[in-house]
Amino acid sequence: MTQRETSGPASSVDIGPPAPTDPLVPATELPTTDLSGTERRRRDLGRPLSALVVLVLLVLWWVLTSGTETIDPLYFPTPESLWEAVTTLDTQLLDDARATLWRVLVSWISGSALGVGVGLLMARARWLFHVLNPVIEAVRPVPPVALIPFVILWFGIGDNGKIFLGALACFMVMVVNTTVACGNVSPVYVQAARSLGASRNQVYRTVVLPAIVPEILSGFRIGSALAFAVVVAAEFQGADEGIGRLIMSASRTLNTSVVLLGTIVIAILAVALDLLISRISAHVTRWSANR
């Protein structure tokens, strides 16, 4: 019961200050959500529930491995051996994580930016759409990891090949996402803007660009997860550092605790990046009725 009392005021902080009655209060201070009592109670329960699930899984893991030895540690490592892996690897783990995160960030940012740019141009100029669309439609269904042999030939096993693959994956997602988003802009907005005096260029800048922001941001989230998948897969095939290399070399010696540790590190990094993007996107698209 005491938990509910403490969670009440704490959660009222996330839902923002009450609606301003003073018209001089800037829009940024408006509440982003207006939760009714039941909805707020549901949200209050949500976080403890998620935490409880994680806790139950952790306990279950310990019970099934170290506790009762139901599962052979070869098939699934014990919590103790995982901790041992963390301490043995020490700074090497950090170096591998840093290498992977760097590749993911560079490929995600460059691929997404290029994808949005090309998508915008394709939505703007029909001829460019007809030139690029067949190429994109042909390359899009190909899993980027299928190109790894080529990429190793072209770029070797350094950073560049992995960044290229991750960027390619993000580029494909964002090109399609952007052209579709531009096509989804309601013609009523465009007509209204035109009749209010906007030129075609102004419509593009003041209507199309802001209107597609929510869809672009959800594309960024899909892209970031994909960048992790592709970069780690590329690291499996050969790398001097990176979580993918760590997992692959550990699996050769059946060191399952390091394999598990690697996947956990990837999960933590990916979730952190996703959380960051969704936080930013929640702020940027606070006007959207879908939130």
């Binding site: 018209p23 408006l30 009523v188 007509q191 009749s195 209010l196 005096g197 030129s199 006007w287």
Partner: protein, 256 residues
């Protein structure tokens, strides 16, 4: 001068399969600061007529002149309010109302002052910083109206703007429109399928027919500028209402 002159305008839509005459040799003149309401069953070309005046589409033949200029595309002299919600959700109320002035290059100060005036006129001054998603449908329509007015048009084109609202909100919107027009008269073409709405707001009511899509008749509305909602119960209003309803039924049956 902001009169509208529609001179023998036709609009034909052609697809691979068929040719649809959306508007046939239609002529109509709207005087400066006159409110003309256009009623007719669906398919009579009333929205086509409005889109032609707005410049969203071009006529197949004939000419449309607003003031002294022939219409050749959309422009700030002709603001449109649609039935669909066209208030930009990514801008707050004040920025929505200031949008037309912004794209026309007015300074921030002047924009804020003028936006303020029109928000006052539609009774939304204290919602300046709210986002559209926080407003009701009726309030968003007021924003739309204020935005159209604030962009400084000579002509206002309304395409069933209150068609999606419930009766009480609709009545409130009639009074809001009346208030804005009283403060700042404009030449208005108001397309609707609601006869009461047309008679309550219009100086003249144009009845259109489908197939051929053209003006059937024009009814002068004799009620002057001061109208309240009770006007609708009066015998003269009822008589006109019945007359128009009768005409519409007739042309509808002919077409069907």
């Amino acid at each position: 001068m902001a009169d509208i002159s529609i001179d023998r305008v036709s609009k034909v839509f052609t697809t691979a399969r068929k040719r649809t005459v959306a508007l046939n040799e239609t002529s109509l003149a709207v005087a400066t600061n006159e409110i003309v309401c256009v009623v007719g069953p669906s398919g009579c070309g009333k929205t086509t007529l409005l889109n032609l005046i707005a410049g969203f589409i071009g006529p197949t033949s004939g000419t449309i002149t607003v003031g002294s200029r022939e219409v050749a595309g959309p422009g700030a002299d002709r603001a449109v309010v649609f039935q669909a919600d066209a208030v930009f959700p990514w801008l707050n109320v004040g920025d929505n109302v200031g949008y037309g002035m912004r794209v026309q290059g007015l300074g921030r100060r002047e924009r804020a002052e003028r936006a303020e005036r029109y928000l006052d006129l539609v009774g939304l001054a204290e919602f300046r910083s709210a986002y559209p998603k926080e407003l009701s449908g009726g309030m968003r329509k007021r924003v739309d109206l204020a935005r159209a007015y604030a962009s400084g048009p000579e002509v206002l084109l309304l395409d069933e703007p209150f068609g999606a609202l419930d009766l009480f909100t609709k009545e409130a919107m009639w009074l809001a429109l009346q208030g804005v027009v009283r403060a700042e008269p404009k030449t208005i073409v108001f397309v609707t399928h609601d006869i009461e709405e047309a008679l309550f707001l219009g100086d003249r009511v144009v009845v259109m027919t489908p197939r051929p899509a053209r003006v059937h008749s024009v009814v002068d509305v004799p009620f002057g500028a001061d109208r309240d909602l009770d006007l609708r119960a009066g015998p003269e209003f009822q008589a006109l209402r019945n007359e128009i309803a009768h005409t519409l039924r007739e042309v509808h049956d002919d077409a069907a």
